[in-house]
């Protein structure tokens, strides 16, 4: 036993000696889980996007790192026709795709790649439409099949997107992960070889990193794309060490086994902030947590009742107890980081007397019975819905409203609430593209009243403003319309707005230029390591 131990110790010493002079800069990121696959248009989870679109692929336009501002990427410039129906993109020249084990590109990126990437999701008769069980949840979720009439090219470096109706958020949509550009040449070759699913498993993109190896639940390994169009990344190798438990991720970060980690435990934040080896980055998330009233059901069809509940719940107490300092009280349905946020909106103060008066006015002086649905899972915008519902229950009891708390398994919860079975429901939203439309129209518009609009609230004066804003590409005009819409929203009170949660990313001190992404993603291009 003893010689063996000595051998082990010796081996360990040799390891350290040999590991020291590693020349390549390797950044290790402790991620939370395995990606579902390597084609971002097939999936919706941030975990998958971090591993794919944000490292391997580019889009025509992208969000400037650390902001929600759209900047040129694979498209150098673009124009929108006066009627807002035709978008013309001028593509960047000399962009190289990755050379991988299974594929060596023979040409640069061009219009065919754009056509392939979109038509695969749009045209039901496209040879790739059904490959890998293509559900294209995001493409559908953003209503692209109805918006897009066609995607065509006029020459190898000019692409036209023709719309059925004007849609101002279109440009922002094209910056989203599902709009990543894949290689048409690779796809053609795999189609001929009869191995179409390979396109989605062994990715080829134009992005700053290329995939080298993936071992499910263990590692994802990338190396810098040597010919990246915007210049080679500062780090040579990038490793995702998949570590599902947040306490273990933190331990790895402390031990120096990774340099960046995601989703810290709220309880560890204090210790992280004090740790001299760690920088704790924070940013207000692009999200909102809310309590929606089912306006189709009595008594929530009465504005006074909805207002009364807004007065009756002590918001600050919830922020303090549930978000533990990682939340900011919400008064609007959109977070303050999104343009057109209306800071002039006055939130309902906590005033149980006023609430009682309003209930009496609505003929409910004796109170009433109802339910609050609380989701069974932790979400970025709501760390503990169950506990939150209990606090609301206690507050509402004080004004005579008797609340029963209801919960279901997550999938069931989403399904039943979409069908409108609830009376009051806790839910939330994380933004996709930084456009106000992505919150207001999706969550409160009439078209969504049988789906994502959980208040099932369809109010003509409000909806008209949103539709007008959708059809104009003039940002100043859109801003004015959205600001007005937020005033109406507050007055009509289809929701009790709760909070925008704060996102934290702990990184080690040797990491340079890591910027927190407002969409919650991880971007490693532009990041460097100090010696």
């Amino acid at each position: 036993m003893k010689p063996m131990l000595r051998g082990l110790a010796l081996g360990a010493a040799v390891t350290f000696a040999l590991a020291a002079p590693v020349a390549a800069k390797t950044l290790v990121y402790c991620s939370e889980g395995s990606p579902e696959g390597f084609n971002p248009s097939l999936y919706t989870s941030g975990t998958t996007f971090d591993a794919t679109s944000r490292q391997i692929y580019n889009r025509l336009v992208e969000f400037e790192r650390g902001t929600t501002k759209i900047v040129p990427a694979l498209a150098e410039s673009w124009e929108v026709s006066d009627d807002g129906l035709v978008y013309t993109f001028h593509l960047r020249k000399g962009v190289k795709f990755h050379t991988t084990k299974g594929f060596t590109p023979t040409r640069d990126f061009n219009a065919d790649d754009v056509l392939y990437s979109f038509n695969r999701q749009l045209q039901k008769d496209h040879p790739y439409y059904n490959v890998s069980g293509g559900a294209y949840e995001y493409f559908n979720g953003m209503d692209m099949p109805n918006l897009l009439k066609s995607v065509t090219k006029t020459d190898d470096y000019t692409v036209l997107f023709t719309l059925n109706v004007p849609e101002a958020p279109m440009i922002s949509n094209l910056g989203m992960d599902f709009a990543s550009i894949l290689s048409a040449e690779y796809a053609d070759r795999m189609l001929t070889a009869g191995n179409t699913e390979k396109v989605d498993l062994d990715p080829v993109g134009t992005g700053p990193f290329q995939l080298v190896a993936y071992q499910k639940d263990a590692f994802i390994r990338y190396q810098a794309h040597p010919d990246y169009w915007a210049g080679k990344a500062a780090i040579d190798k990038l490793v995702f060490a998949i570590t599902p438990d947040p306490a273990v991720r933190y331990a790895k970060l402390k031990a120096g086994e990774c340099q960046v980690m995601t989703y810290p435990n709220p309880a560890d934040l204090d210790a992280m902030a004090k740790d001299p080896d760690i920088t704790l980055l924070r940013q207000e998330g692009l999200n909102v947590g809310y309590l929606a009233f089912n306006t189709e059901k009595k008594p929530f069809d009465d504005k006074r009742v909805r207002q009364a509940i807004n007065y009756a719940i002590d918001k600050q107490a919830i922020i303090d107890a549930i978000y533990l300092g990682a939340g900011k009280a919400a008064k609007n349905p959109i977070p303050p980081t999104i343009w057109s946020y209306n800071d002039d909106v006055k939130d309902y103060p906590y005033d149980p007397e006023k609430a009682k008066a309003l209930l009496a006015e609505a003929g409910l002086a004796g109170g009433f019975e109802t339910d609050i649905w609380a989701m069974p899972v932790q979400r970025p915008y709501n760390p503990n819905a169950r506990r939150m519902a209990e606090m609301m229950q206690a507050d509402l009891a004080k004004v005579g409203i008797k609340v029963k708390i209801v919960t279901f398994e997550w999938g069931e919860y989403l399904k039943r609430s979409k069908a409108g079975e609830h009376e009051m429901i806790l839910l939330g939203w994380t933004g996709d593209n930084g456009d106000p439309d992505n919150f207001l129209y999706v969550l409160l518009g009439c078209a969504a009243a049988t789906g994502t609009n959980r208040a099932r609230w369809c109010y003509k004066p409000f909806d008209d403003l949103l539709v007008q804003a959708k059809q104009s590409s003039d940002v100043a005009k859109r801003t004015a319309l959205y600001k007005k819409a937020q005033l109406i929203f507050k007055e009509e009170a289809p929701w009790f707005t709760i909070a925008h949660s704060v996102v934290f990313k702990p990184v080690r001190k040797e990491v340079v230029d890591f910027l927190i992404d407002p969409f919650g993603g991880m971007m490693f291009y532009g990041v460097d390591l100090k010696e």
Binding site: E36, S132, R221, A251, T452
Partner: protein, 336 residues
């Protein structure tokens, strides 16, 4: 012998059917819709939802779905994961070696410590050693795995820096999986230091996973040993002047081991279920974590296939154990 073998194997077939039926029914009985879960807050239109459902074959009556599933299973097809769209069998076979490697190391640890501890405790019955072994094994047996794992990580990896926190190998080594067993692959890869790194990564998870089997084996060995040591033939051997070491090692141990082997066989099930938690703590890419995730996502084919395969392993190991002590002890072989 052949008859004994056939009898045991014939019992396995209904067990397999039971397992397929149970997992198939249970995963569908708990509420939740895999398609809804994939879409999250975003939700799909009802048409799109129906289209997906049809594509996955979830629109057919339950009995028909089960029939299709069973026919496929007999053809060796366990279906494709709803989430990753990869064949269940290939996902399982990439992950399973990690679980086996960890389980074997944990079992070796449990045997290497548990057997001698149990024997010594029996021989020195009532001594301080005996009491400490019994006390510690009771503690080990009732230790919550999650807490125990985190405790070891904080002490040995973060404070002392002796062992790595988690994973199977340092992120600096890029080892190509050949066999899927990291210890073998690192030797094949011929990268200096990789093997040691793999060994160091195995230490803590093996301790955590091995703790409960170790405790069970130590206690079982002790009580079985005590029983045998009280038998007449042992007293006779002693009276004949056989050395105490020989009495214990040759005469007593062989008979005492029979119940211990049964327990070891049963520990395979314990190891595989303990692996679920251990793997989650140590970010160990095995089937435990994969199964948990598949259940949470209502990934029906993965759950069904995974449980069936795990059940196969447990049943097979127990069958081998049965045959093994039939072999050691002829009385069992000939009984009825």
């Amino acid at each position: 012998m052949l008859q004994f073998l056939l009898r045991r194997v014939s019992l396995v077939i209904p067990t397999f059917f039971g397992v397929t039926l149970l997992t198939f029914a249970l995963i569908r009985l708990i509420p939740g819709d895999p398609i809804e879960l994939l879409a999250g807050e975003r939700s799909l239109t009802p048409e799109r939802h129906a289209e997906m459902k049809a594509r996955l074959g979830l629109d057919k009556p339950m009995l028909v779905q089960y029939g299709i599933y069973i026919v496929d299973v007999f053809q060796g097809d366990l279906g494709k994961s709803i989430v990753t769209r990869e064949p269940v069998l290939s996902e399982f076979s990439t992950l399973f070696p990690a679980t086996i490697e960890l389980s074997i190391c944990a079992l070796i640890l449990a045997l290497a410590v548990g057997l001698p501890a149990g024997i010594l405790a029996a021989v020195r019955r009532g001594s301080v050693f005996d009491h400490s072994v019994m006390g510690l094994s009771l503690t080990g047996y009732s230790m919550p795995i999650f807490w125990w794992g985190l405790l070891l990580i904080l002490l040995f990896s973060v404070d002392l820096g002796w062992t790595p926190v988690s994973g199977r190998i340092s992120a600096l080594f890029w080892i190509e999986p050949v066999t899927g067993f990291m210890l073998i692959d690192t030797l094949l890869a011929d990268e200096p230091g990789a093997f040691t790194s793999a060994v160091r990564h195995l230490i803590l998870p093996s301790i955590v996973l091995g703790t409960i089997p170790l405790a069970v084996i130590a206690r079982m060995t002790r009580s079985s040993m005590l029983e045998v040591l009280g038998e007449d033939y042992v007293r006779t051997a002693r009276a004949k002047g056989v050395s105490p070491l020989q009495v214990v090692a040759v005469h007593a141990l062989r008979n005492a081991l029979i119940p211990v082997i049964t327990v070891i066989g049963l520990q395979v099930g314990v190891l595989l279920s303990g692996a679920i938690l251990t793997e989650t703590i140590f970010a160990w890419p095995g089937i435990g974590k994969w199964l948990i995730e598949s259940i949470a996502r209502r990934d029906y084919p993965s759950v069904q296939g995974g449980v069936l395969l795990v059940a196969t392993v447990v049943i097979t190991v127990n069958l081998i154990v049965d045959l093994l002590y039939g072999f050691i002890n002829p009385r069992i072989r000939h009984a009825r």
